[in-house]
């Protein structure tokens, strides 16, 4: 009985985090972007500085008609948002927030996370193809191309940390973390974060979505709740990427004075802020620039980091 209760409590907490944190990040994006562009952003919904804007958006989405185009492949079209969203929920379950504070401790947690994140992109490929719209197909193809080129630097950068810590378990990596890993793993950290951004298709890596030329790419034909699920997947993705970068490269719950989970939250939100900041600061990369950055920039850098990690590990041991 106690075991079942334990599992239920963990599940409820994870789902709650999954539903709340992306909304907070979304609202932060509204406000931060607005102020960076000398606007105010949402001000009315809920009264205080428009704090309930995203809840109002949710209510609006729920009321909208669920339209499926006549030319679409109905079944694939219907399940695509789920395929895009569920992986992030699953990943949240294995991210350690504090010592012992984790949904499920998996032996090869790092590999699990990378594997499951790769599945999420299938959702946008499926959405792009099944919409029966040429812009969506283009968006889906660009998503697939982007995933394939950025998967490699992502995995290489992550494996450098695993090499340094000598374990694939996420809590194990955080426990092995020392402050001097910050400069040591800095290159890997930047590569991981950028490649992760590209996998999320966030600006400046949003060529597959490109609202001004592909009218949102794979999501063109989606309305109502299904579109809301895609949006939720995007913001949940930001939370997951920030949390993973914090766990792997910034030492997770390590930090002076404040308790561990608070440090973890601070790091996650600082990284989420950087994600928003990058969106406001940089123009969209062209498709060839995207591929160039991955293959000529990030992959060699990740390999350099891997070599550096190997040499230092041997010297220290």
């Amino acid at each position: 009985m106690a075991e079942v209760l334990d599992a239920v409590v963990r599940l409820v907490v994870i789902v709650a985090v999954f539903l709340v944190l992306p909304l907070v990040v979304g609202q932060t994006e509204h406000k931060v972007m607005a102020h960076m562009q000398a606007r105010l952003g949402p001000m009315y919904a809920g009264g205080f500085h428009g704090w309930a804007q995203l809840i109002a958006d949710g209510v609006k989405f729920a009321q909208k008609e669920d339209v499926i185009p006549a030319a679409a492949d109905r079944r694939v079209f219907a399940i695509a948002p789920g395929v895009a969203l569920v992986p992030y929920l699953v990943v949240l379950a294995v991210i350690p927030v504090g010592p012992g504070l984790i949904g499920a401790d998996i032996d090869a947690g790092l590999f699990f996370v990378l594997a499951v994140l790769g599945v999420g992109v299938l959702g946008s490929i499926m959405a792009g193809w099944s919409s029966g719209n040429k812009y969506s197909v283009l968006g889906g193809m660009r998503s697939a191309a982007q995933l394939m080129s950025y998967e490699l630097p992502l995995v290489l950068a992550a494996s450098s940390v695993a090499m340094a810590a000598g374990t694939l378990s996420l809590p194990g990596i955080v426990e092995a973390w020392q402050w001097w890993w910050l400069p040591w793993q800095a290159i890997g950290g930047v590569v991981f974060f950028l490649a992760g951004l590209a996998e999320l298709r966030r600006p400046p890596f949003d060529m597959p979505i490109a609202e001004s030329e592909l009218i949102m790419g794979p999501m063109t034909e989606y309305t109502g709740m299904r579109f809301a699920l895609f949006m939720l997947a995007e913001y949940a993705g930001i939370v997951v990427l920030s949390a993973l970068t914090a766990v792997l490269f910034l030492g997770g719950w390590h930090g002076p004075l404040l308790p561990g989970p608070v440090w973890m939250l601070i790091k996650v939100f600082a990284l989420a802020f950087v994600v928003i900041w990058l969106r406001v600061s940089y123009p969209r990369l062209r498709e060839d620039q995207l591929q160039k950055l991955a293959w000529i920039g990030l992959v060699p850098l990740a390999l350099v980091q891997l070599a550096l990690t190997g040499v230092v590990t041997l010297l220290v041991a």
């Binding site: 030319a71 679409a72 492949d73 694939v76 998996i106 032996d107 090869a108 590999f111 699990f112 990378l114 594997a115 499951v116 994140l117 790769g118 599945v119 992109v121 299938l122 490929i125 499926m126 792009g128 193809w129 099944s130 029966g132 197909v137 889906g140 193809m141 697939a144 191309a145 995933l147 394939m148 998967e151 995995v155 694939l168």
Partner: protein
């Protein structure tokens, strides 16, 4: 390996899950080759690979299961879908999907399956492998690969490197054969 063999009439939960996953894998694999819709075939392949990863998981080969998902579902199928969408990806049924070789292909497939099943059944008979968690962990697997199986591992690496260089040479137009 050879402990008391439990009865087949009272399967454990693990065995039932394993059988169900096997059925899903075989069923979706059949759909991959029989469906009339090109992209659906690739998507059924995802289900098939997923079920296979589940089988590995039930057999406590945790690491292999995640690698299966990472490489096959995450990369290979994405590559397949990209290729299909780059050439032709019609929505709806295409009638020209059936190959003229399908009878021969079916015979070869059934024969291969028959050989494999006979070898496995003949090799293990009623041997009963006790599944203790942790035997397929990354640590155990790494130890076994780099202690006992280094030579095959290195040979495979060289093979993959050769294929990689071959692909680069084939795709570059400024390298000519003499």
């Amino acid at each position: 390996m050879n402990e008391a063999v439990p009865s087949y009439l009272s399967p454990t939960g693990q065995e039932i899950v394993f059988l169900l996953l096997g059925a899903v894998a075989v069923g979706s694999a059949l759909l991959v080759v029989t469906t009339k819709q090109l992209v659906h075939a690739a998507l059924w392949l995802v289900v098939c690979f997923g079920a296979l990863a589940g089988c590995y998981l039930v057999l406590t080969a945790e690491f292999v299961a995640w690698v299966q998902v990472l490489i096959y579902v995450g990369a290979i199928v994405a590559l397949l879908l990209f290729g299909i969408m780059l050439t032709r990806a019609p929505i709806g049924r295409s009638d020209d999907l059936d190959s003229g070789n399908r009878v021969v292909a079916a015979i070869v497939a059934v024969a291969t399956a028959a050989v494999l099943v006979t070898v496995v059944v003949d090799g293990f008979r009623t041997a009963y492998a006790d599944l203790t968690p942790g035997r397929g962990s990354a640590e155990a697997l790494g130890g076994s690969i780099f202690r006992n199986w280094v030579l095959p591992f290195e040979a495979l690496s060289v093979l993959l490197l050769a294929a990689l260089i071959g692909a680069i040479v084939l795709s570059r137009t400024d390298i000519r054969g003499r």
